[in-house]
Symmetry: C2
Subunit: 279 residues, 2 copies
């Protein structure tokens, strides 16, 4: 959400005539399904750029059927299939909006990333000079800062997003209205926003990270699985949301395959569940 905010704040959505679906995709880790690819290409086209401007690396769509279809077609995966291509397309649009070179938009020194850093520093209430940096899976700078600051940023984002006309509210509304653009088919972010009928947002990150928030209640959540394994993050997120009463028992039950996934062995036997436990 925070990486998509500058484009909204600076007027890029109106300037380029981006749709609500395209804005949601700018805050997504999508599954590379055909409708995601179409929307990413549309953002690029509206911004006067094309796929070659994308700095993210190619990988097969996370959505198995879309990956299969691509392999069967004989075409290699391209950068637009990268789960972050929507974010990248939004950043290219931000560069075009300001008349900055699109070349190198993914590098920390580029004005696009400096604008995002300033945004994150504001929402996280953490000095930009004290951020630590690494490179994300898609080539963007990724930011190291205390988990509590990220949770507080999500809470602030939630509180502001309760006003749908605010930039945060517009990003949230896009995610809430088009959850399939935030992640994709059979993905928790999408199914959770849908189960909660757009009452909350949820966004997965790499290495066991999850952010979520409930605007009407000003709730913000950030969680990280210590060793970076993502398997535990989904049951943990749903347990936290339930504990905060941010989702109801019925909603939790409808998300059971994420909340308490069953492990099957090579014989096809159910041999265990992954369960969130408070200690």
């Amino acid at each position: 959400m925070f990486q998509a905010l500058p484009l909204v704040e600076d007027g890029g959505v109106e300037y380029f005539g981006l749709t609500s679906e395209e804005l949601a995709l700018s805050a997504a880790s999508h599954s590379g399904e055909p409708f995601h690819v179409t929307a990413a290409r549309s953002i690029l086209r509206k911004a006067g750029a094309d796929e070659h401007a994308l700095a993210c690396g190619p990988h097969l769509p996370m959505h198995a059927k879309s990956a299969e279809a691509l392999v069967t077609s004989g075409q290699p995966p391209s950068r637009v299939h990268n789960n972050c291509s929507g974010k990248h397309a939004g950043m290219i649009a931000l560069a075009k909006l300001h008349g900055w070179a699109t070349e190198g938009y993914h590098e920390l020194a580029h004005p696009v990333q400096q604008r995002i850093l300033e945004t994150l520093a504001y929402w996280c209430d953490f000095p930009a000079g004290q951020f630590a940096f690494a490179t994300d899976g898609c080539g963007l700078p990724t930011f190291a800062l205390p988990l509590a600051n990220v949770a507080a940023a999500c809470a602030r984002f939630s509180a502001v997003a309760a006003d749908p006309s605010s930039p945060a509210g517009r990003v949230f509304s896009a995610m809430a209205a088009h959850p399939e653009y935030v992640a994709g088919t059979d993905r928790l972010c999408t199914d959770l926003i849908r189960a909660a009928r757009g009452r909350l947002f949820a966004k997965v990150g790499a290495e066991g990270y999850y952010c979520a928030g409930v605007p009407a209640e000003g709730i913000g959540i950030a969680l990280k699985v210590e060793d970076g394994a993502k398997r535990a993050s989904e049951p943990a997120l749903l347990a936290v949301l339930r504990q905060l009463d941010a989702i109801g028992e019925d909603e939790l039950r409808s998300l059971a395959r994420y909340a308490r996934p069953t492990l099957f062995n090579t014989r096809g036997a159910a041999i265990g569940d992954i369960v969130a436990a408070w200690s």
Copy 2:
């Protein structure tokens, strides 16, 4: 190792004329390479059984090239490709040796599993009646008991295995002489035993488990990644072995891709290493 011991103790290796390679495979989680499959079939044939007796489920070989070759051949993976088929074949041989029915050999109530339970209880110095049970990935009973007891069992196994004529020594010698049968190509168990020139044993388990030992020094090691993610287990095992001086700096360096694996992103850039840290 413990699951293979009864077959040695009860005279099955001599009775069926099993080779040292086949004994190593009985204590393996192998990669389903052609030589593994051949050895598993050979154990079954010598025991007067065939693949249909195997209770483990079919899955593609863990070795990518062997999996590719199988897919290209149009044949589905069979039970003999299961990484535990050597262990299962050894258990079927144990049943045949004693004249027990092979049917149901993978069930806890079967004499084969009771014989293994008794063996584990002895080595782990833990009452058989206090074990907790679950079902393993391959359908065998798996045993829950304190990690310290498993480490002590590995230390006892090491101490006894220093005598190559003991049953533990014979299992260890087979693993040390034929490390490629313990795991396979580009697998840590194999490459570690090889790097240490057969001075130690190492055996991976499911859900982030690792056992190892150094017979000449009576050292035993058991480690478990708390959340079951295996990514951390290899750097952790090698760090422990180095700390105990069970492997030298040169050996550790030759295993660098396991000791400190590098993460690459979708752009092909090195973005981090997994490093064992003492806290």
